[in-house]
């Protein structure tokens, strides 16, 4: 068989499938090659997707996508050994379904849905095949891929391999991710049943909670924990910088269980049934991790592989940026194809499109955050101080307890002076 395709997309995750979806919409016949046994089978994320991007491109998605719950409550906790401080943000006004701006989902299922959408438009999704290499022709143009030992030719190749983008490394456009800007996420899916979840979290119907926390079992470690409510399940997990694993006494295989058994979380997931344990890497460098040239002769790089992922400190955004980059890649390929070209110069329009898009607007805005989040004070001292101060504020007995002296003592015992705090404040102002 000497078939040749318009476009071969390597990787059937959100970025790759979106690229195929938008390409097919433009009349191309893209082929997505996915190494997993079905689309989505290798995908892991925390649990939340933002609605705006789907509103733009997938009419009717609210009725058909595999949505677990609509996020109504946002929580952020600073957790200590025996107590925690939580900020709770709730939208009180009754919301119609199309007013929720984010929802929880299982990425494997969501990706499965995206795959169906892409196929409806005319893309071909081929799971169960691993791409090992990109074939370069004599002029150095990407002209095909080698999948499980067989060559498949194409005019354009889209690399949508995710965080471990071995092909980009082979092409020499990217080096191995750095430990300082890469984090390992581990996650557990726990079944509790819808009613039980609603009871424990004070929710109604299919409303959901997104809960982020620092401290607790992760005390002193740059990283955070998360909890999302799904339809019948709760997911919990931790995201920890790899450089931290190197430096500190921390065993990643145990983190998820330490998190689950921490009193702040255990009360929510008690008596559940553990369904799945998963792990995945994520980039945390923000703009620093973005591929300078996500294009080259005959190829483009999208999604996580290109570094389009954003850690806002509260949440990691990837799926919306992946979908957007897929749309822009399709745009760029379509333009190049009209001109009958596949050179790097022509395809560089992709980079310009990305720079003008929501992707760069956000990455630029948050460019100082990764540095700010390296501040050990946040993980080592802040939880204790917060718990000590509020612990005092909410304790009443015969003793006279004023908050201010406690705050001062607490700061002092952590070796924090006003100058350090002021610097931290300034940094925060620039980053968040």
């Amino acid at each position: 068989m000497s078939e040749k395709f318009d476009v071969v997309v390597v990787g059937g995750g959100p970025a790759g499938l979106s690229t195929a979806y938008f390409l097919a919409e433009k009349g191309f016949e893209p082929v997505v090659i996915e190494r997993g046994p079905e689309p989505g089978s290798k995908n892991v994320f925390g649990g939340r997707i933002y609605s705006y991007v789907l509103d733009k491109y997938f009419p009717g998605w609210r009725k058909e996508a595999p949505i677990e719950r609509w996020v109504r409550k946002e929580r952020m906790s600073i957790t200590c050994e025996s107590d925690s401080v939580t900020l709770d943000y709730v939208k009180h006004k009754p919301l119609k379904e199309d007013e929720y701006d984010s929802f929880t989902a299982f990425l494997s299922k969501f990706t499965g849905w995206l795959s169906e959408k892409a196929e409806e438009k005319g893309a071909m999704v081929l799971p169960g095949s691993r791409v090992e290499d990109i074939v370069l022709n004599d002029q150095g143009y990407a002209s095909g891929v080698v999948a499980d030992g067989e060559k498949i030719e194409a005019d354009y190749i889209v690399i949508a391999e995710g965080v471990n983008t071995l092909l980009s490394e082979k092409l020499g456009i990217r080096s191995k991710p750095r430990l300082e800007t890469t984090a390992l996420g581990v996650k557990e899916v726990i079944r509790l049943g819808k009613e039980e979840i609603n009871k424990r979290f004070g929710l109604e119907d299919w409303e959901g909670v997104a809960h982020f926390f620092i401290g607790g079992p992760l005390k002193g470690i740059a990283g955070g924990g998360f909890l999302y409510t799904m339809g019948e399940y709760v997911t919990i997990g931790a995201v920890v910088r790899l450089s931290e694993v190197n430096r500190k006494e921390i065993t990643m295989k145990d983190i998820a269980e330490q998190l689950r058994l921490h009193p702040a979380i255990y009360r929510y997931v008690k008596d559940g049934v553990l369904m799945e344990y998963s792990a995945h890497l994520t980039r945390e460098g923000g703009l620093l991790d973005v591929l300078e040239k996500p294009y080259g002769p005959g190829y483009l790089v999208v999604g996580d592989a290109a570094g389009f992922i954003l850690n806002t400190g509260f949440t990691i955004r990837g799926v919306d940026l992946a979908i957007e980059s897929g749309r822009l890649a399709a745009e760029a390929i379509s333009k190049a194809h009209e001109e009958g070209k596949r050179d790097a110069e022509t395809l560089s329009v992709y980079k310009r499109l990305v720079e003008e898009s929501v992707i760069y607007r956000n990455l630029r805005e948050y460019r100082n955050l990764p540095k700010f989040l390296e501040n050990e004070v946040l993980y080592r001292d802040l939880p204790d101080i917060a718990c000590e101060v509020l612990g005092t504020a909410y304790t009443t007995d015969e003793e006279v307890r004023r908050i201010y002296p406690v705050l001062m003592n607490s700061l002092k015992s952590h070796g924090l002076g006003w100058i350090t705090l002021f610097k931290l404040f300034l940094e925060a102002r620039r980053s968040i």
Binding site: R35, P37, S41, K42, L184, E188, L261, D271, H280
Partner: protein, 99 residues
């Protein structure tokens, strides 16, 4: 197999039995344990979320690939480039049903 949780940590081995795998007969990750003998910190042992790296009785590094979550951590964290890392062949390896 019971996955009902109690108030004590479940071992990672136990948790891995809850995740679905299509194990391929050959390993997709090869560790050059010669290099590991020079490595003092062996961060892979702490970092692998599946706990697949351990030391045997003689202090030699042992790696098993069954149960690999394909996260790629060991590839990055190894200070001696001892980990030849690739994905399992098509259709194999971990199969997340939730993700």
């Amino acid at each position: 197999m019971s996955s009902n949780m109690e108030e004590k940590p479940l071992s990672v081995e136990k948790r891995l039995t809850l995740t679905k795998f299509e194990i391929f007969e050959k390993p997709h990750i090869i560790v050059d344990t010669e290099k590991c003998s020079k490595c003092e910190t062996k961060p892979c042992i702490k970092a692998c979320p599946a706990g697949l790296y351990s030391l045997d009785e003689n202090g030699k590094l042992v790696f098993v690939y069954e149960g690999c979550l394909e996260c790629g951590t060991c590839r990055l964290i190894c200070p001696y480039d001892a980990v030849s890392w690739s994905y399992p062949p098509g259709g194999h390896g971990v199969w997340y049903k939730f993700g």
